[in-house]
């Protein structure tokens, strides 16, 4: 081992004192992955993440199905955020097939995407709560998520795996009276999540536990190529909805939440602030949406893409989610690669955990907005 090894990845010689803990995959604080943590007493000496336990070969599967058949299985990596996972793929396929989407479909997509972001974030927040031992914070978001899941069910017919976005628009139009129901539920949802500040974000024990733990500086956040809430908690103002507006995000008025601290607390607060902003976006989109019109462009059966490659990215619940599609003129993509926020944020984990206390491991780990299934794809 040379001297300039990256922090955290250079596992040291196993000393007598240093205990190697396998955290995961069957651990209440790990998710579907394994962290090989070396601890010296209460302090983590090194951490080596070991993802891949839920690898499903989505990218390889995509090479054998045509552009339409890829839709249902490509959303499987994050079923809670299925619209957002599908979004870059659909955008890329539209570019490859040369389809222009109608205005109403774009708004419907934005609404579905923001609802899905909230659904995912609530799930994430629930697990963050239970990782810190806060069982109420597990139950509340898990219950309030149902509000939005009901909305999505009305909208798409499915509770979690919607398969709603298709190249050329969305699968079906909004049901009757959807706008009113959506507005009411979203308003209640916003009121409800504002209450989380009382029990969770303003909780003194929580603040003292997560403040100044796992601090990722702005420079490091850029250097490590993190994305999403991790990046924005470190003070980088980068949100693809603002920076590279897709569909109709450039017509909506919202702001990006940026915090300076870069610690676990800031990282856990950014998604919550984003949810509040999402409510704002949904309300605007409902207002500006064309009241009628087609939501789907008719496609040829088994469409063939142009020869070439596209790389489209959207801001998902876990940060930038890119989809790189190489097409060779056949109905199937020649190569499909998803660049997911979870996997990009994983690089920060050994970096942050080194020198932390063992008690901080779950909070730092989960504050990276890491979703193991997405990272493994």
């Amino acid at each position: 081992m040379t001297a300039e090894l990256p922090p955290g990845l250079a596992l040291q010689k196993v000393d007598e004192r240093i205990m190697t803990l396998n955290v995961g995959p069957q651990h209440p604080g790990s998710g579907h992955m394994r962290l090989i943590v070396q601890i010296d007493g209460d302090y983590i000496v090194a951490c080596d993440p070991d993802p891949g336990y839920v690898h499903r070969g989505e990218e390889k599967m995509a090479e054998y199905r045509n552009y339409i058949l890829n839709i249902p299985h490509l959303e499987r990596p994050v079923i809670h955020d299925s619209c957002n996972v599908l979004y870059p793929y659909v955008l890329g396929v539209e570019e490859l097939l040369g389809i222009e989407v109608t205005e109403r479909a774009k708004y419907v997509r934005v609404i579905a995407s923001e609802l899905n972001r909230c659904i995912y974030t609530m799930y994430w927040l629930a697990i963050y709560g239970i990782f810190l031992g806060h069982s109420t914070m597990f139950m509340w978001p898990a219950g309030d998520r149902e509000l939005l899941i009901d909305l999505m069910e009305k909208m798409t017919g499915a509770r979690v795996t919607h398969a709603h976005f298709v190249p050329g628009g969305v699968r079906n139009d909004l049901p009757a009276n959807f706008e009113d129901v959506c507005l009411r539920q979203v308003n209640y949802f916003e009121k409800r999540i504002r209450e989380y500040a009382d029990i969770f974000y303003d909780n003194p024990i929580l603040i003292s536990r997560t403040r100044d733990t796992g601090v990722l500086s702005r420079q490091d956040a850029i250097r490590l190529g993190t994305t999403g809430s991790v990046l924005r908690a470190s003070g980088v103002d980068y949100d693809l909805r603002k920076k590279e507006p897709y569909d109709v995000y450039d017509e909506l008025d919202f702001h990006t939440n940026v915090l300076k601290e870069g610690d676990s607390y800031a990282r856990s607060k950014i998604p919550w602030l984003d949810m509040l902003e999402s409510c704002n976006i949904i309300r605007q989109a409902l207002q500006k949406m064309p009241k009628s019109g087609s939501v789907r462009v008719k496609l040829k059966p088994n469409p063939k893409g142009k020869i070439g490659s596209v790389y489209k990215r959207v801001e998902s619940g876990r940060g930038s989610l890119g989809c790189y599609i190489v097409s060779d003129g056949k109905p199937e993509p020649y190569r499909l690669k998803m660049s997911v926020g979870s996997f990009r944020n994983l690089i920060a984990l050994p970096y942050l955990l080194k020198g932390e206390k063992l008690g901080n491991m779950p909070s730092v780990y989960w504050s990276l907005n890491y979703w193991p299934v997405e990272a493994d794809r």
Binding site: M1, T2, E4, L5, P6, L9, A10, L11, Q12, K13, V14, T20, R34, I36, Q38, A46, D48, D50, P51, G52, Y53, H55, G57, K60, I222, R223, L224, G225, T226, T227, L231, V236, Y238, K243, E244, K306, I307, G308, S309, V310, Y311, R313, S320, G322, Y324, V326, S327, D328, G329, K330, Y334, R335, K337, S339, F343, R344, L346, I347
Partner: protein, 257 residues
């Protein structure tokens, strides 16, 4: 080393750092799970037909002298190519499938900003890089494996890109090559916020990978862009491209018993 590790009993793999140390000094481990390279098996049989006049040695020679095989391609496509004067000349091969993802051919005007970026690159490197496509927000360039490190350094220092979003390996069995594509973006430069520079490079693909001695090698960009660390490990696991100079060149997932 990995295969040896696999054979050992359970208690024999205590040291978490062993794979790293050994690989770093000896040879890269082998792609022992062949599931990630099914393409090889399906298209492997074609004999070493050299459609192009590459002075490529026979496939069995695994040390794979670096320059000989990728240079000819560059010279072929190397025409300064400010406008993507289609790599089609090269694609005289019967199989049209493994064409490099070509740019839009019939786009009359190129976006100015993106054109500027590609022009800067061409100005700096001349015919060492080939501009594959220039379209809205995306610039695609290709570099040979010798130049990719320098190009990446220039992209970071001269152009202001600061992180790699994605490293994708694309397998071209008909070319006997594996393309590794870096999608490079920028957080710090606001004007580059929506730009992605697609830097691609190609390595020779082995027909029958030898465990522990991968001949498919590319220089690692980790010392240029720190963020490629896990991505390159993933490409190593999935496609068997060994990145020379990567300090932690393990498979992404630990060997399971």
């Amino acid at each position: 080393m990995m295969s040896a590790d696999k054979d050992k009993a359970a208690e024999e793999k205590p040291a978490a750092e062993k794979p790293a140390t050994k690989e770093a000094e000896t040879a890269p481990p082998a792609p022992k799970n062949t599931k990630s390279e099914p393409k090889e098996t399906e298209t492997a049989p074609p004999a070493p037909k050299d459609t192009k006049s590459e002075p490529k040695e026979t496939e069995t020679a695994k040390p794979a002298p670096k320059d000989t095989k990728s240079e000819p391609k560059e010279t072929e496509t190397a025409k300064p190519a400010p406008k993507d004067a289609k790599p089609e000349p090269k694609e005289t091969k019967p199989v049209a499938k493994e064409t490099k993802p070509a740019a839009k051919t019939d786009e009359p005007e190129l976006p100015a900003f993106e054109k500027g970026i590609s022009d800067k690159l061409v100005e700096k490197f001349g015919d060492k890089v080939a501009v594959k496509f220039v379209k809205k927000d995306r610039v695609g360039i290709a570099a040979s494996r010798d130049n990719v490190h320098d190009v990446a350094e220039f992209v970071r220092d001269g152009l202001g890109y600061d992180h790699v979003e994605s490293v994708s390996g694309v397998d071209y069995p008909q070319d006997k090559e594996i393309e590794v594509v870096y999608h490079i973006g920028s957080y710090t430069d606001p004007s580059l916020a929506r730009q992605i520079l697609v830097l691609s490079t190609r390595a020779q693909r082995e027909e029958s990978p030898i465990p522990g001695n991968d001949a498919t090698k590319l220089p690692s960009l980790r010392d240029v862009f720190y963020s490629v660390e896990f991505h390159e490990r993933e490409v190593f696991e999935m496609l068997g491209v060994y990145f020379e100079g990567h300090p932690d060149n393990r498979r992404l997932q630990r060997t399971l018993r």
